[in-house]
Subunit: 211 residues, 3 copies
Amino acid sequence: MAVARHGREGGRHVETTFVVPLWVDLVAVGVGALQGALFAGRLKERRIDLLGVALIGVVVGLGGGLLRDILLNELPVAMRTNWFLLVAVGAALLGMLLQRLFNRLNALIIALDAVTIGLFAAIGTSKALLVVGVPEIPAIFVGIVSAVGGSILRDVSLNLPIALMHVGSLYAVAAGAGTVLLVALWSFDVDIVIASIACAVVTTVIRLGSV
Amino acid sequence: MAVARHGREGGRHVETTFVVPLWVDLVAVGVGALQGALFAGRLKERRIDLLGVALIGVVVGLGGGLLRDILLNELPVAMRTNWFLLVAVGAALLGMLLQRLFNRLNALIIALDAVTIGLFAAIGTSKALLVVGVPEIPAIFVGIVSAVGGSILRDVSLNLPIALMHVGSLYAVAAGAGTVLLVALWSFDVDIVIASIACAVVTTVIRLGSV
Amino acid sequence: MAVARHGREGGRHVETTFVVPLWVDLVAVGVGALQGALFAGRLKERRIDLLGVALIGVVVGLGGGLLRDILLNELPVAMRTNWFLLVAVGAALLGMLLQRLFNRLNALIIALDAVTIGLFAAIGTSKALLVVGVPEIPAIFVGIVSAVGGSILRDVSLNLPIALMHVGSLYAVAAGAGTVLLVALWSFDVDIVIASIACAVVTTVIRLGSV
């Protein structure tokens, strides 16, 4: 990530050219969409058609980022270029077509999913802090919503109880620990890139440890 | 629809005075709200009261446009004048009061509903392209969300499985075909009004063909 | 509430320094979050963990304000300072820990809840009218959504039928009466502070009368 300047002193709107590399964001979206399609494909008794599976993939892949940008009152990144929707739809269709293959690679998918949550948490919190300039606690909240938003919207779309609400889910705890760390490091003037990487790693490790 | 200038070359925010005639938008909202109230009124076992029926009407009539404008980070049109909410509430109450009459006109309602989806798809995609200046794929996505958003929010509100996710629903396919056509025509420099009408007609016809 | 100037004549964006005192907003958020946590804690068979209870508290406490600000295309107030999230999480945890105590104070909680709905209705409508400058009917709509949004999001989060849709709920009716009164008084040039207090009182009394 490139950051020209912290500039926290400069009022609410911070002058900075903080940019998450597009490919990092797209990898997170793609893995999320793949996961979503695999999840929807396993619900045989729900009679979800191809379109529905693709839609769930898009919801899971893009949901966290959409909620993040709506909370931050920004035009969602998925509206700014063609890439986000193309990657989300492509990954969802891939997940649907290669369902049997991917289900054998379950351990890999779980690992990738944990990395995705870490990336979304780090991207969400650092965007909130640096691009929009919100205070610490809302920045943590935005990071957590970015990380778990896709899975919340998935469960609402499928009319399932939201997994996050029930015993055993450490998604939000993992993202919470990571984003708190990011904000703490940043407030001690650690470089935002290092703080973001620390956030992504901690979130991923906690999530993996809880599987 | 009136458009002063395409101006696609002029950066992200396009300078244009593209305006959907208010009455077109209001007809779409009114038919959507009527449909929503009729749908809610048929769910006898749910014990939905008058207020609930009116609310579902408003959700169905305005939901697509609200989601569209939230995705585009614009003040929703329903917030800009009194007309949208008045028409949505009025149409929902009408649907509720004249339920038995309208249920006999079922064929007419289905036809009007297909027209509504076509209108929302065309309005959503052309607004995304011309007013906000988003790229092609997000514009298609916004058009589809505009067309199906009301019915998605209806199902979530009523705690029903989202119809769109299940085998047999061609709502999203119809809107997808129409909006892809709109974007294709527009990128070949066809006038946006003609492209929008083509989108609305194709969406409506596919939707009618699938009933 | 402090208002420098009505300025309704000055175009869509009204120049005014209307400010709801922060503590009023925070009390409403805190009581909402407490209520939400108590509600979630009573659903024993749902196996909601501590995190889930806290999350429901945050959803109920902040949901109305978030929906209000998203509809108005404003950066949500909960993103502007640390206080909203701190109060919501704190109140939700308090509700969770002191569940048995609060359940004995049921009458007090119901009374506070009615006051909360009144406050949210008044804050939502006056913010819509004065800060964003929307017309009367959308302002009423925003006030109602502010008042009932938390409970709608709670029911969607818990995968319950939305209470509001079913016979017997007077939440929306109470908020509707209060916000219509606010707009009526304001259009007769009554001071917005007095109109807002009248709205809050009427909403609270109708809600209490319907318990």
